[in-house]
């Protein structure tokens, strides 16, 4: 086993920012808005670094697809303990239409190229909430997948994954190489320590173009319109239960 783990990290608008829709309804405002690493990707990085600290794997490689600024996201991963980074340059129109299908093709190509033992991703990104990239990548690679992981343990060439599902918790055992996606309760990501921030400066980030990996970035999706959610309207107060039932019937709710 190569002992190498690839972790995908996505640069998204910071979770605390109030999102505003562009006046032309083509998307959301991103210029000058604070961006940071997707919270589920932080959890993925933390899990990979933990595995390395337990000496169960040898190398953590952080990967990000996006424009120049994605390098900041990779540096944050390096400061958390990743060993090196790969920046897949996608900019301009290609970046606007970049989605799970293209990213999973890129991830699959890199996982093969880097001979990865594990590919760990966040379960979904907080901007598009797709929850597709992990699953698609596993399908493209024909690798087993452990998604919505709340607990991961390595055992030789197998991985035990406890998954959070609607009915409760499901435990599965899959062979490596495999794809895992991190759920909220998998771990609590560490704050980068100052010495690690200094060390991160010296770690390498390789630049790769999607074409080098033989990936076609054409999107099969077209965004027609982006709108604000409907404004919350004032409620109506009623005196009795009969009035309430009447009102609900009136507005077609029952």
């Amino acid at each position: 086993m190569s002992g190498r783990v690839l972790v995908g990290v996505k640069r998204v608008i910071d979770y605390a920012v109030k999102i505003r829709v562009k006046p032309d309804n083509s998307g959301v405002v991103t210029d000058g808005v604070k961006h940071s690493m997707n919270p589920f990707c932080e959890i993925a990085v933390e899990e990979a670094v933990k595995l390395k600290e337990k000496k169960l794997i040898k190398e953590v490689v952080a990967v990000s697809c996006g424009p120049q600024q994605s390098q900041e996201t990779i540096r944050t991963a390096l400061a958390m303990g990743a060993d090196r980074g790969i920046h897949v340059e996608v900019a301009g129109k290609d970046y606007e239409t970049l989605g799970p299908l293209q990213v999973s093709k890129i991830m699959a190509a890199l996982a093969k190229k880097e001979d990865a033992q594990l590919l760990i991703l966040g379960k979904q990104a907080i901007d598009d909430d797709c929850n597709q990239t992990g699953q698609m990548t596993a399908a493209l690679l024909d690798w087993p997948q452990g998604t919505f992981a709340s607990e991961v343990s390595l055992d030789g060439d197998k991985v035990k994954v406890v998954r959070e599902i609607d009915g409760g918790l499901e435990t599965i055992k899959i062979s490596t190489p495999a794809v895992l996606t991190a759920d909220l309760r998998l771990n609590t990501p560490r704050y980068a320590t100052l010495p690690n921030i200094m060390k991160a400066k010296k770690k390498k980030i390789a630049n790769v173009k999607p074409a080098d990996l033989g990936v076609d970035l054409t999107s099969r999706l077209e965004v027609l319109k982006v709108e604000e959610p409907p404004q919350r309207e004032a409620g109506v107060k009623v005196e009795t239960v009969e009035d309430l039932v009447g009102k609900l019937k009136e507005t077609g709710r029952i």
Binding site: A16, S36, E72, R75, T76, A79, Y191, A192, T193, L194, P195, I197, M198, A200, K201
Partner: protein
């Protein structure tokens, strides 16, 4: 390993030599990442509890541990001794972000870094550094700085705490006042007179562990602000310490204290910046949300002018602080710049927090909003580590030297 450290040091020295004032325009990448990390920590871990810490006067022990793990409690200390091995610009950035979250925590961090570790790092022997610095880098232990006395604050040369030698021990007697961190500290740097006839050249510095026989603490002061940090008298009655606990040569205590405060000033300037920024953030946010006369009050010129003046005050103080830090890191003279930074930043903090309450109106006067806490926290920054009056003396002194023909 040794070769790695040597190479790193060489690289560091090279970078420092190249450092220029372009850093004032845009911070280097590592410093940006560091600033963001500290800001995230302050937003998530300090800001939510700052009000509670203030109300209950509770020392933020858990947070100090976490900051220690990040390297924030010993930022200038080399990695070999357990520190983060960073420069003073990095320290200023970290201090500002931490203080923006909680000014009391900022005070604890500042005293540990600049006032306790600072002099030992500069004047201590290798053995003293290992014994008195390394355990204080993790956040498990914090130190304090005992210079002021009931009889002298600004008049530091009049130290009435005495130290005399008895065999193989120093014996200390006297009272120190206004000592930040005193109730939570595990050691202190104490300044005492060893030769009264030499006046300020007869003061020496000592390292005393806490607790220790002969050292007792006065009652915790009930302060206007930075309530989560403890402030009290330290009473020395026949306090005996080994001879090797003297810091630096005999009679250099005053010089050590003054040089330590010159550096500490940059840290306090950064703390004041954090408080000023927090006040500005509070006021600007309120100006967006509060409506009066049919529109958000941010549309009114009276409010806009206040916010503009606050922003200018903070930004100019920030640039002064960064300049002082960069000069110190480049081994250039920085005493005047550090005093200017502390003066500007502390006056910006009191100005901004005053105006923030004004913008918030009645809401600024109640504890539901943090504006009143910023107002109370800001006030001390014009007093400790050199009053604004002392800063003016220092600046004028340095300035007039420059004009001497």
């Amino acid at each position: 390993m040794a070769a790695l450290f040597k190479a790193r040091k060489a690289l560091g020295l090279c970078l420092r030599g190249c450092r220029s004032l372009t850093q004032l325009a845009e911070l280097p990448e590592t410093h940006q990442l560091l600033r963001q990390t500290c800001r995230d920590y302050a937003d998530r871990e300090l800001m939510p509890i700052a009000g509670k810490l203030d109300k209950e006067h509770v020392f933020p022990a858990k947070q100090i541990h976490e900051l220690g793990a990040m390297g924030v409690m010993a930022m200038e200390v080399p990695e070999e001794l357990g520190g983060a091995g960073m420069d003073y610009l990095a320290y200023s950035l970290a201090m500002e972000e931490i203080s923006r979250g909680c000014a009391s925590t900022g005070a604890v961090v500042s005293v540990n870094n600049s006032l306790y570790i600072g002099p030992i790092l500069k004047f201590g022997t290798e053995e003293q550094k290992k014994q008195w610095i390394t355990p204080f880098t993790t956040g498990e232990k914090v130190g304090c700085f005992s210079l002021s006395e009931p009889g002298n604050g600004s008049d530091a040369g009049a130290a009435s705490t005495l130290a005399h030698q008895e065999g193989d021990q120093w014996v200390l007697n006297g009272t120190k006042a206004w000592i930040t961190n005193s109730w939570d500290a595990s050691a202190t740097v104490v300044f005492a007179t060893t030769d009264k006839k030499l006046k300020h050249k007869g003061i020496s510095a000592f390292l005393v562990p806490m607790p220790h026989p002969g050292l007792s603490l006065g009652k915790k002061e009930d302060k206007l602000g930075i309530k989560a940090s403890s402030t009290a008298n330290i009473i020395l009655e026949d306090c005996r310490i080994p001879l090797e606990n003297m810091l630096g040569p005999r009679g250099t205590g005053f010089k050590i204290a003054m040089q330590t405060l010159d550096c500490g000033r940059i840290g306090i300037a950064a703390q004041a910046l954090g408080i000023a920024q927090a006040a500005l953030d509070c006021a600007a946010d309120y100006a967006h949300k509060r409506t009066a006369f049919g529109a958000p009050i941010g549309k009114l010129q009276a409010i806009q002018f206040k916010l503009a003046d606050m922003a200018v005050a903070v930004e100019s103080a920030r640039l002064l602080t960064w300049k002082a830090a960069i000069f110190k890191d480049s081994n250039k003279p920085f005493i005047k710049e550090a005093a200017m930074a502390k003066l500007a930043a502390s006056e910006a903090a009191t100005y901004c927090s005053h105006q923030a309450i004004q913008v918030l109106g009645g809401m600024g006067y109640v504890t539901d909003m943090p504006a009143e806490r910023h107002y109370r926290d800001a006030r001390i920054t014009e007093i400790y580590e050199g009053t604004s009056e002392i800063q003016r003396l220092v600046i004028a002194g340095q300035l007039l030297k420059e004009y001497q023909s």
